[in-house]
Amino acid sequence: MGHKKAQKAYKWFRYVLLVPALLFALAPVYWMLTISLKSEVDQFATPPPWFVFTPTLDHYYDAFVTRGFGEYLLNSAIVSVSSTICALVIGTLAAYALTRFELPWRLNRHLSLWILSTRMFPAIVTAVPLFLMMRDLRLLNTRASLIIVYTAFNLPFVVWMMRGFFADLPRDLEEAALVDGDSRLGALVRVVLPLVAPGLAATAVFCLIISWNEFLFALVLTQTDAAMTLPVGIAGRVTQYEIKWGVMSAAASVALVPILVFALALQKYLVRGLSLGAVKG
């Protein structure tokens, strides 16, 4: 009996350890959600009404009907999804080449490190050159500019993650596919990719989150509603005269949803993808 009790106590102890971490991580989210549902009077009341207040959807109406947040949401969605797809296609092919073909002069290794090194300097360094390039290409204030920049930004990440997944996959399988009469590309599509699908899913989630949340380049490269994404749109509510906390919180709360849904949908793959290769099957 004593043993069982100890086990139960241990189980509770685990939650005790988790609570501070959860509080720390989720408190701002809770704060944001409540602000988005509070009237302005409640927002600034002291002490703040933590749990009991009269909820209102006014800010949501304001954000998505009166103001153009719906458009920002659409921009964000198009830019994130497109750049994620581009980065996955290009990066996966590159990673496959790096793991499966032997390049001269030890280029496999050099190229991999070179690709990684593009993520080593602070992003702001490239902001001005990118702004000038996009201006000359007449791509300022277009979704295309953000898709291009995010694809470039996510590529090293995709290449490195996928490289690991490919390296863990036995070569026999592709070789069998080749001997069976399939082309390289056919073997990649029919045999290799289905087997690294969990890795691909995990990588996709990360790319999407990074693109969805990106602020710096979106701020530099878009100034009009035509291509402005949610993070920039939200920040834009901090004006010289007032800060629209309710609208900002409402928009930010909505911005949470797609990523949350996507991550939950791929949760199974996400965990498998991140631990793939850790345990040899």
């Binding site: 399988l173 070789e175 596919a177 001997v179 069976d180 399939d182 056919g186 029919r190 289905p194 087997l195």
Partner: protein
């Protein structure tokens, strides 16, 4: 026609893995590449499959030079040591894969898959995934995938080495029977001399990337070209007695052991005996030499007891002590 290696070499970096290999394999032959690990036999097979490039020399399949032909256009089928079944596909999909990528229509695919499944008695497994199968079953599926179309040759890379001993002997028999039925050229890589002896119409013994001997199993056994072949083929191994001018080799079954002295017999002492059930291996000391002899199952001798040996002189082999080359002139079969 068949398959020909002409002066084929393969280097990895500075290391030579296959060195000037020339081999002519006739149509319909079952050729076994035999040798210890690292002898270049698997690399040879992979070069033929197009999975490794050829450093120098030429490979021909049915008269066509295939050095620069990509794997998928060489029209071969291969069974891998790991079986390499596609884990995300069912057994039907696995076996049907070579047909699918070659654009066979559905009806033809179903018909052929069912035919080979029946041949290999795996009809009941068709809807399963590879991970639900035992080693022996996976082996059969790998074979089925290879024979489902009619390739120019089958390549097999140690296909039985992951099976337990009993299953291995059973599959060995089935493989031989299958090849007899199909009559397709087969090239089979193994380090197991028993597999080579039982399966091959001809055996190519390799060592350190070089071909040592290419002949029928009987000739490999009875007329080994050099000391390496003599030692590698046969179990227990051939005995060697080192001399200044010549090394004498004699197989364990060509030494007769007697408990009583007799004319022309050499005295020896018993080191240990191993009863195998159907026969007894007698380990002997003659001076500084250690010999193994094959004796009947009812042979009994105490450790350290004295015995007398008679060698079948017409079965003795003579090797050059320096080069290891055979000096024996014997009529080949």
């Amino acid at each position: 026609m068949g398959i020909e290696f002409r002066n084929v070499s393969k280097h990895f970096g500075g290391a030579s893995v296959v060195d000037d290999l020339s081999l002519e394999i006739r149509d319909g032959e079952f050729v076994v590449l035999l040798g210890p690990s690292g002898c270049g036999k698997t690399t040879t097979l992979r070069m033929l499959a197009g999975l490794e490039t050829v450093s120098s020399g030429d490979i021909f399949i049915e008269g066509e030079r295939v050095n620069d032909v990509p794997t998928q256009h060489r029209d071969l089928a291969m069974v891998f040591q790991s079986y390499a079944l596609y884990p995300h596909m069912t057994i039907v999909e696995n076996i049907g894969y070579p047909l699918r990528v070659r654009k066979f229509d559905k009806a033809q695919r179903v018909e052929r898959v069912n035919r080979v499944a029946a041949m290999l008695e795996i009809e009941s497994l068709l809807e399963r995934k590879p991970r639900q199968l035992s080693g022996g079953e996976r082996q059969r599926v790998a074979l089925a995938r290879a024979i489902v179309r009619e390739p120019r040759a089958y390549l097999m890379d140690e296909p039985l080495s992951n099976l337990d001993a009993r299953l291995r002997v059973q599959m060995r028999g089935e493989l031989k029977r299958l090849q007899h039925q199909l009559g397709t050229t087969t090239i089979y890589v193994t380090h197991d001399q028993a597999e080579a002896m039982t399966l091959a119409s001809r055996v190519a013994v390799m060592r350190k990337g070089r071909l040592q001997q290419f002949d029928t199993p009987m000739n490999i056994y009875n007329c080994p070209a050099n000391r390496f072949v003599a030692e590698f083929v046969g179990s227990p191994s051939m005995n060697f007695i080192e001399g200044e001018q010549v090394t004498i080799g004699i197989r364990p079954e060509h030494i007769q052991v007697f408990s009583e002295p007799r004319d022309g017999a050499i005295a020896a002492s018993v080191y240990v005996t191993e009863l195998m059930g159907n026969e007894t291996f007698v380990f002997l000391s003659v001076g500084t030499n250690r010999l193994i002899a094959r004796a009947p199952a009812d042979f009994r001798a105490e450790v350290e007891s004295k015995v007398w040996l008679q060698f079948a002189e017409d079965k003795m082999h003579y090797f050059d002590p320096k080069s290891g080359e055979s000096l024996t002139q014997r009529h080949k079969l």
